[in-house]
Subunit: 188 residues, 2 copies
């Protein structure tokens, strides 16, 4: 039997997208967003939804470029802080001691210490009430050198965290439950 | 040091969205999509990106309604099968023995055996090259009765699986790495 828990913004899993942008004064900012995901394969794209009140929103309109850095479990506190405080009130890089690096292909900064950095340009947006969904075309992905080796899994080996929205938890990557494009062949 | 792995549709984590639709003949279909996520809070919405070649695409245009059922680890094979085969070639419910249930608020079927079912109406769409991103306004979420109890966590307790796109793995939910809106307070 099923029971209704109402209409709420609850899907699973949610990413921990640390969005890096430059402001009008050229200062690097980072903020945390969990409403988003991969959006298309060709050209490769992701989506991230941002409230218009956020500094990130202002910077996205200005620069049409951003990065998404994916934090490892050891940086969960920094990732959380990036979502608690506005870049209007604090220099989040200075506060945490993390390092902004200018992206190679887009006009935006990424977080050097985080294992995965995705460089995006804004190509489209969609107004959705509380949030505006931005589509970022992925221009490059950079990973820690060790995670780029053959056989490496940047996400699991990099201990990239995810977000359980309705329980306010950051989660480590889970164990393999099944092989994709394989486990289901028995029904074919 | 960072190393480029090129521009690719690789973010983490990815959901395992089992999208349920009715076809023009009224037959229930389900198919598996990993490009998507939560999209807005108010009204609550999610996004899912679909290739125009898919039967799901045809059904979404026709009915403007769908469900997203989230599979537990014990149904990983069924979830995988739903992504391997087209509903044009097979009755996926009949093949797997799973049960289509007409959603309460939208004109679409969900998978009774999966622990979480989200009922959506299509409100907007965006053409993104290989895929069309559909926005679904969430009209209701249903969960297994035991998962609706106070203190329950439908995603972890329901063992909802996620997808590691670049490694073709389904993953169980991970362990807690940190508390959100809490771990970062030390930097404030």
């Amino acid at each position: 039997m099923k029971k209704s828990i109402g209409a709420q913004p609850a899907t699973f899993p949610n990413p921990v997208f640390i969005v890096g942008t430059y402001g009008k004064d050229g200062a690097p900012d980072v903020a945390t967003f969990a409403w988003g995901g991969t959006a298309a394969s060709d050209p490769p794209a992701l989506s991230v939804s941002v409230r218009p009140s956020r500094l990130t929103y202002e910077n996205l309109l200005l620069k049409k470029a951003f990065t998404v850095s994916l934090p490892s479990a050891q940086y969960a506190a920094e990732a959380d802080y990036f979502g608690i405080v506005s870049g209007r009130d604090a220099d989040k890089f200075a506060k945490t001691g993390l390092t902004p690096v200018r992206a190679e292909f887009v006009d935006a900064p990424y977080v050097e210490e985080f294992p995965v950095n995705i460089e995006c340009v804004v190509t489209q947006s969609l107004e959705l009430g509380s949030h505006v969904l931005f589509v970022g075309e992925i221009k490059d992905i950079k990973v820690d050198e060790a995670l780029a080796a053959a056989g490496a899994n940047p996400w699991a080996d990099g201990k990239v965290i995810t977000f359980g929205a309705n329980v306010n938890q950051y989660l480590a990557p889970g164990e393999e439950a099944a092989k994709a494009f394989s486990a289901g062949l028995k029904y074919r």
